[in-house]
C-alpha cells in the first residue's frame, strides 16, 4: 500500500484494509525469520530484586492533576470500571 504518512482519521473501511495489509506484511516478515537458526534466549536481571526504599509521596497537586485527566470522576474517585465511558 502506497500513500503519504500524514496523520488522518482512520475510517472503518481503511481499518479493514490496514488489517489485510499488516497480516500480509507480518507473514512476509515471519517467513524470513523462520529460516534463522538460533536458540531462544531469556533475560535474567543480575541485580535480583530492587530495593523498594521509601518511594515518593504524592501530594494534593498530584491528586488533583490525576483526577482532572480522568473523563469521569465521582466523589473524588475515577469512575473507570462501571462502564461509565459508555455515557459519552
Amino acid at each position: 500500500m502506497t500513500s503519504n504518512s500524514l496523520w488522518h482519521e482512520v475510517t472503518e473501511e481503511e481499518k479493514e484494509e490496514i488489517k489485510r495489509d499488516s497480516k500480509k506484511l507480518l507473514n512476509e516478515f515471519a517467513s524470513k525469520l523462520s529460516k534463522i537458526k538460533a536458540p531462544e534466549g531469556h533475560f535474567e536481571n543480575e541485580s535480583g530484586t530492587r530495593e523498594e526504599g521509601d518511594g515518593w509521596n504524592t501530594d494534593p497537586e498530584f491528586r488533583s492533576i490525576t483526577l482532572s485527566n480522568a473523563p469521569f470522576v465521582e466523589d473524588n474517585s475515577i469512575v473507570a470500571e462501571k462502564g461509565a465511558w459508555k455515557k459519552k
Binding site: 504518512s5 500524514l6 496523520w7 482519521e9 499488516s22 497480516k23 507480518l26 536481571n45 498530584f62 492533576i65
Partner: protein, 443 residues
C-alpha cells in the same frame, strides 16, 4: 558554541539564565519558527525558574547545567505540562509527575522551555504522523525532519534550545539527528531510566540527548544516566572497559543503501581512520533480518502497551482516535497475539533477536566500534507518497543496535544534494564515552 562554553558564559555573568530563556523565547515566537511546528506547549514558568537559578549562580550553589534551556519530547512526563505523545488520544493529558530524567536535569538547574512535537506515540520515522501536523526540517522546510523525535531534533537544528531530550526505540533519536544535521545519542538499553517515558516498545525504548556536538551529548548523558529504583531494567555502567584494539568495523551496506551515501561514509571513515591510525575491518551485520525482527517485536509490545488507553482513566480510546500508523501497529500486534499459540511471529522474532545479539558479540571480539550510515536515503518531501515497506526501510541501519541494546550515536557526515547525511557509530554496551570520543573526530 558548545554547552561547556555556554555554561562558562553563564557562570561568569556574561549571560544570565533569564537572558538565555528570553533569547530562545524570542526566537520561538517568530512566524518563521512557528511555521516549523516544533513546540506544542511552552513552559510559562521558565522565566521565574531562570530568576531563581540566577540567584543560585550568584550564591555559588547552582547545579552543573545552571541556566541551560532544553526542550522535551512529548512522550516524556513533565509535571504540569501536556504529555500528549503527538496524539489526540492524550490531547489535554497533563502529567502529574516528572520522569526521572527530568528530575535529574532540574536538579542540575537546567530549564525546560516546553514540550515538542513528535510522531504519534513515537510510531514513525519521518515526523509526519503527528496528529498536530508534521514538524518541518529547519534545514529545508519542504523536507521531513525525521522521527520520531522530530520536534526535539528540529528544535536543536533551529537553535531554539541548548539541547533536547528524545526517545529512541529503533532509531528515533539517530534518524532525525541525521536528517537535521545534528548529533543524537541513543544510550545503552538500561543506562538511562525510562521511568516517566510513555512507552512504545519497552524492551527497546531509550531516552537520550539531541545536541550540537558529541561533547555536548556526553555532558547530558552523564547527568541523566544511572540506576533508578523506579526502572528495574536500569543499571550503572561496569567499571571495566573492553581492551582497545585500534580497529574500526566498517559495515558493508551496498545492498541496502543509496550509492552516494555509501561512498560518503566510506570516504569519511577512511579519512578519519588514516588521521587517527585506526585499522579498518570490513564487516557484515544481519541487516536482511533487522526490520523483520524489530517490527514483529514492536507490534507485539506496542499492542500490549496501548491497552491502557481505553478512555477510562485518561484520554480517549486509542483505536478511535489514532492515525493510520498507530492503528496499523495495534491491529498487527493484535493479530500476532491471536496467532501466537503456534509461535509463528513473536517467538521467531525473539530467536532472531538472540541471533543478532550473538553476531554483534562476535564482531566486537575483533573491533572497538562499528561505523555505518544512520539512514539509507536522504529525507523525502513532507506529504510524499511512500509505501509502508519503504518507510520501515528508513530504520534498517538503526534497528540492529536497538535489538541488541547497544549504544549508538549519529553525527553529521556531510551533504548529498544539499541534504544532511549522518554517520552512525556503535560500540559494546555502556561504551558511550568511546562513541562520543570517536564521534568527535568526525565532527
Amino acid at each position: 558554541m558548545t554547552l561547556k562554553q555556554k555554561l562558562k558564559q553563564i557562570q561568569s555573568g556574561k549571560l544570565s539564565a533569564v537572558q538565555n530563556v528570553m533569547n530562545f523565547s524570542g526566537k520561538i515566537a517568530t512566524p518563521e519558527t512557528k511555521d516549523l511546528n516544533i513546540f506544542l506547549e511552552l513552559n510559562e514558568n521558565a522565566i521565574d525558574q531562570a530568576k531563581a537559578i540566577d540567584k543560585r549562580i550568584k550564591e555559588g550553589t547552582a547545579g552543573k547545567l545552571a541556566g541551560l534551556c532544553f526542550a522535551v519530547k512529548s512522550n516524556i512526563s513533565v509535571r504540569g505540562l501536556e504529555t500528549n505523545c503527538g496524539s489526540k488520544t492524550l490531547e489535554g493529558y497533563v502529567s502529574p509527575y516528572n520522569a526521572t530524567v527530568i528530575n535529574k536535569l532540574l536538579a542540575e538547574d537546567a530549564i525546560i522551555l516546553g514540550m515538542v512535537n513528535m510522531d504519534e506515540f513515537a510510531c514513525g520515522a519521518s515526523g509526519e504522523t503527528s496528529a498536530f501536523e508534521p514538524t518541518k526540517n529547519p534545514r529545508n522546510p519542504e523536507l521531513i525532519p525525521g522521527g520520531s523525535s522530530s520536534g526535539s531534533s528540529a528544535a536543536v537544528a533551529a537553535e531554539l534550545c541548548d539541547f533536547a531530550l528524545g526517545s529512541d526505540t529503533g532509531g528515533s533519536i539517530r534518524n532525525p539527528a541525521s536528517h537535521c544535521g545534528i548529533t543524537g545519542l541513543k544510550p545503552t538499553y538500561g543506562a538511562v531510566s525510562r521511568y516517566g517515558l510513555i512507552d512504545m516498545t519497552m524492551s527497546f525504548d531509550c531516552i537520550g540527548p539531541l545536541v550540537n556536538s558529541p561533547e555536548d551529548a556526553k555532558l547530558i548523558f552523564n547527568i541523566i544516566k544511572g540506576q533508578d529504583n523506579f526502572d528495574q531494567t536500569t543499571k550503572d555502567a561496569p567499571k571495566d572497559a573492553p581492551k582497545k584494539k585500534g580497529v574500526i568495523g566498517l559495515v558493508d551496506v551496498q545492498d541496502f543503501c543509496n550509492k552516494e551515501i555509501t561512498e560518503l561514509i566510506t570516504k569519511k571513515t577512511e579519512e578519519i581512520a588514516k588521521k587517527n591510525n585506526w585499522k579498518i575491518k570490513k564487516i557484515n551485520l544481519p541487516l536482511d533480518i533487522a526490520i523483520q525482527t524489530y517490527y514483529i517485536i514492536v507490534y507485539t509490545e506496542f499492542f500490549s502497551a496501548t491497552r491502557k488507553f481505553d478512555g477510562r482513566r485518561f484520554g480517549r480510546k486509542i483505536e478511535e482516535t489514532a492515525g493510520p500508523e498507530v492503528v496499523r501497529r495495534i491491529i498487527g500486534g493484535s493479530e500476532i497475539t491471536k496467532a501466537e499459540h503456534d509461535g509463528k511471529y513473536y517467538r521467531e522474532a525473539l530467536k532472531a533477536r538472540n541471533f543478532i545479539k550473538q553476531q554483534f558479540e562476535k564482531i566486537f571480539q575483533n573491533v572497538d566500534a562499528i561505523i555505518l550510515p544512520t539512514v539509507p536515503r536522504t529525507p523525502h518531501k513532507i506529504g510524499e507518497s511512500i509505501s509502508v515497506e519503504e518507510m520501515y526501510a528508513y530504520d534498517v541501519f538503526t534497528t540492529p543496535a536497538s535489538i541488541a541494546g547497544l549504544p549508538g550515536i549519529s553525527v553529521p557526515a556531510g551533504k548529498i544534494d544539499n541534504k544532511d547525511v549522518g554517520l552512525q557509530i556503535l560500540a559494546p554496551h555502556f561504551q558511550e564515552e568511546l562513541i562520543c570520543k570517536l564521534a568527535a573526530d568526525f565532527k
